[in-house]
């Protein structure tokens, strides 16, 4: 599948502060790629470099086949960008804003969006609530049917109802119509719950470093919360590296398996806990996976290690 976004060692520094370490990332066409991480992890910096708003200190990126630093006005006829702290022409009403943007694009359809999102056309942008402002901003992007939608913390500080409305509108846009090229979405968020329902890929940034990036289905398939009933405390084999947060009681042991889809879980359990009984494997939510990773201080795939290994090979 063709990548809509590719970065190669993309980095940004401000003097001695490194906002984003060299980052290599691929976002395939049609993906809903969620970029997650704490505030200040480098999500916005990465996105702004992709949108040619900031200039990288090192590395390069291509967006929709064009080098990010060559993105010009014409490129944004097929790229929609919404940010939580974007400065909009607040003196305009919602209707004026949409009318103003309409001639810039070859195609435009905002009527359905206005109805779906229940936008007040005659109200000035500066008088809108935060949720309504984000809805207006999203409508102004979805209206021209972009091939790539980039959303920087769009749901930050929104109440659940508005958030759901925005997600619904987004899912509808991504679903698209028959015959149309699939829409790719890059969305940043520091709230895992809000992107779990619709993201197809996930990348995790921590302190300016991309810790991992992979398909959501792979990630959730790999992680299982394992509970083992113990019978005796005979010493067994060493704990595999794919096991996280191992807790052993007198009658039960619990751990998180990070490679449950590829490794022989039952055999590993039998080796580590000889004479063990029942084994229960429970799927995990994105939140519990990240909590496990954070508590264990480990990442499922350390990209930097992987890259180094690749280079050595």
């Amino acid at each position: 599948m063709q990548n809509v976004i590719e970065t190669n060692g993309l980095a940004k520094g401000y003097g001695r502060t490194q906002a984003l370490e060299p980052t290599t990332l691929h976002v395939p066409e049609g993906a809903v790629f969620a970029l997650v991480g704490h505030n200040g992890a480098g999500k916005t910096t990465l996105i702004k470099m992709l949108m040619n708003i900031l200039h990288p200190s090192a590395g390069s990126a291509t967006v929709c086949g064009h080098a990010s630093e060559t993105l010009t006005g014409a490129s944004f006829e097929s790229i929609g960008y919404v940010s939580e702290n974007q400065e909009l022409p607040e003196w305009m009403t919602v209707g004026e804003y949409l009318d103003y943007l309409r001639p810039f694009y070859p195609q435009w359809d905002s009527e359905a969006l206005v109805q779906t999102l229940d936008l007040p056309l005659d109200r000035k942008l500066k008088h809108l609530s935060r949720g309504m402002l984000m809805k207006a901003a999203l409508a102004s992007v979805l209206a021209f049917g972009p091939k790539l939608i980039v959303l920087d913390e769009p749901f930050s500080g929104l109440d659940p109802l508005v958030r759901d409305e925005l997600i619904e509108a987004l899912i509808e846009a991504v679903g698209g119509q028959d015959g149309k090229a699939p829409v790719t979405v890059l969305i940043s968020s520091h709230d895992l719950a809000e992107i779990e329902s619709f993201a197809t890929h996930i990348g995790y940034l921590n302190k300016g470093r991309l810790v991992f990036a992979e398909e959501m289905s792979t990630l959730t398939a790999r992680f299982r919360e394992v509970t083992v009933t113990l019978d005796g405390d005979a010493p067994g084999a060493a704990i595999p590296s794919s096991w996280l947060l191992v807790e052993r009681g007198t009658s039960v042991a619990k751990f998180v398996h990070s490679q449950a889809d590829t490794e022989p879980v039952a055999e590993q359990v039998a080796a580590v806990f000889p004479g063990s009984g029942e084994i229960s494997l429970e799927p995990m939510t994105l939140r519990t996976i990240f909590l496990a990773l954070a508590r264990s201080g480990r990442a499922p795939i350390d990209l930097t290690t992987k890259e180094k290994a690749g280079r050595r090979a």
């Binding site: 708003i53 006005g73 400065e87 022409p89 001639p103 810039f104």
Partner: protein, 519 residues
């Protein structure tokens, strides 16, 4: 959407958004057009301005010279900052804007809502002064161009590297301080050196080109830090280039070797300076005043010495050549004096020796035009230099006023004036008048908000003394003769004199008259 349509689309948005600022700016320009004549001689009473008794209109006219450009600054700030180039949060940077459509929209806005109204106001003023508008249009357009270069372009560039009006004002204040310091340094380094011909025009053109370059760069790349750095370096680089201008080549081109005018040093000892007080020091230089006898100036013409250069060669072989120095003496045929600065160290070195002096003078000819005579009254009479003159005011109290568009030539006026009042009904006086003269100075501003050069004529009659000035009246019907002079090219002449000592020709701080002994 085509680029042109995008430009118009952005322009329409700006006009709709900024109509309050536009209204204020246009009102101020309209007010300026109405009130500017208040400072023209005689027009304060003619226009019957409200508040004229307390001098409000002239004050307002002066104030508008500040308010109008301030309104332009605000308007430019608002229109440029509407799509700010500074920062990373603006909505428009991720929309299908093209930099050239955006820049074109801003420039059309500035041209259409600042330049055009000002041009219209200036055309109105020219027309109101009784001057032809159409023939003065090229000059007015050039004047608007100068206003654009000196005000609008710097305002636009500064707005493009700031995010809002507050930082813009701070940058302007800081920039003025910085320019003042660079100017002081430049003046210090320039010393008494004359600015070569073409150099100032070249400096303005170069500075304008650099500013245009920075504006384009900022609109194309939006790299504010680098643009600001370029702005900081621009005054230093351009002033340095100005100081390094090849004066010899430029003076030789503007003032080719000529033979029309001749001059020689007047060796009459009576022409030497009296040695009262110590030698005058200008910085580390002494001033030598050389008496000259000038010949060859065409009849009725004048010659202005714009710059000079002096070369001294002593009997002992010491040689010193000065840079081109500022001068500014008007010369006719006959005796005259020219001042030149010589370093004190040079005077100390060769002051007691006889030297060979070689003086080069850069002269500008002012050729007389055919005199024009007319009978002055309230009607406008065309005078040399494409101006008009008339009596302005109530019959019997009219003041002779001449108006020109943008530039006035050096003009000598001859007429007959009454020592008393003119007849109150505006008729010609019955008593013979006294011959009187007046002059109109040569003015040519680089730019001017008010394009009308209005000059009231102040006549002098033979026998008048500065201590006891007489009030002379020019009455309707008086015959006035005006003779203007126009610039007729430059030439460079050389004066050479051997065997003179410098010391007797040094200028002194003061010439003290001997104090009479006590009775």
């Amino acid at each position: 959407m085509t680029s042109f349509n995008q430009t118009l689309h952005i322009l329409r948005k700006d006009v709709r958004h900024l109509y309050p600022e536009i209204t204020v700016s246009l009102s101020l320009v309209a007010l300026f057009a109405w009130i500017a004549p208040a400072v023209w001689p005689g027009y304060l009473t003619k226009m019957a301005y409200p508040g004229a008794q307390v001098g409000a209109p002239p004050l307002m006219a002066v104030l508008l010279h500040l308010l109008v450009p301030l309104s332009w600054l605000i308007l430019i700030s608002r229109v440029v900052h509407d799509e700010s180039l500074v920062g990373d949060k603006q909505f428009w940077v991720t929309r299908p804007y093209t930099w050239y459509s955006l820049l074109a929209a801003k420039l059309i806005f500035i041209g259409g809502l600042i330049c055009l109204p000002m041009l219209a106001a200036q055309m109105f003023l020219v027309h109101y002064a009784g001057l032809p508008v159409l023939s003065n249009l090229p000059g007015l357009l050039a004047n608007i161009g100068s206003i654009a270069v000196f005000f609008l372009l710097p305002f636009t560039v500064l707005a493009s590297v700031t995010s809002s009006f507050g930082p813009l004002i701070l940058l302007i204040l800081g920039g003025l301080l910085y320019l003042g310091l660079v100017g002081l340094l430049g003046t210090y380094l320039q010393g008494s050196h004359a600015v070569p011909p073409y150099a100032l025009v070249g400096w303005v053109v170069l500075t304008a080109l650099i500013l245009i370059g920075i504006l384009l760069y900022q609109y194309i790349e939006r790299k504010t830090g680098l643009s600001q750095l370029l702005l900081i370096w621009t005054p230093i680089v351009t002033v340095a280039l100005l100081l390094m201008a090849p004066a010899g080549i430029l003076f030789a081109h503007a003032y080719p070797e000529g033979t029309t005018v001749a001059a020689k040093v007047d060796l009459d000892p009576m022409q030497q300076q009296l040695s009262g007080g110590g030698p005058l020091l200008v910085g580390k230089n002494m001033v030598m005043t050389l008496p000259l006898e000038v010949t060859g100036v065409p009849d009725g013409g004048l010659v202005e010495s714009n710059a000079l250069r002096v070369e001294l060669i002593s009997a002992s072989g010491f040689h010193w050549l000065s840079p081109w120095q500022n001068s500014g003496d008007m010369m006719r045929n006959g005796p005259t004096r020219v001042d030149m600065e010589i370093p004190a160290t040079v005077v100390e070195r060769i002051g007691s020796e006889t030297v060979k002096v070689r003086l080069s003078l850069a002269l500008e000819h002012l050729a007389p035009e055919t005199p024009v005579a007319f009978q002055i009254d309230e009607a406008d009479h065309t005078v040399p230099g494409a101006g008009v003159c008339s009596l302005v005011g109530e019959p019997g109290f009219g003041q002779p006023v001449c108006r020109y568009a943008l530039r006035s030539p050096l003009t000598f006026v001859e007429t007959e004036v009454q020592n008393g009042m003119c007849p109150l009904d505006g008729s010609a006086p019955t008593t013979p008048g006294s011959p009187a003269r007046a002059g109109i100075g040569m003015h040519h501003n680089v730019f001017s908000f008010d394009p009308v050069q209005a000059q009231g004529l102040r006549f002098e009659v033979g026998g008048d003394s500065p201590e006891h000035p007489h009030l002379h009246a020019l009455c309707a019907g008086a015959r006035v003769q005006m003779r203007a002079s126009h610039e007729a090219g430059g030439e460079q002449i050389h004066v050479e004199q051997t065997g003179i000592e410098i010391t007797p020709y040094l200028k002194h701080r003061a010439v003290f008259s001997p104090v009479p002994p006590p009775q």
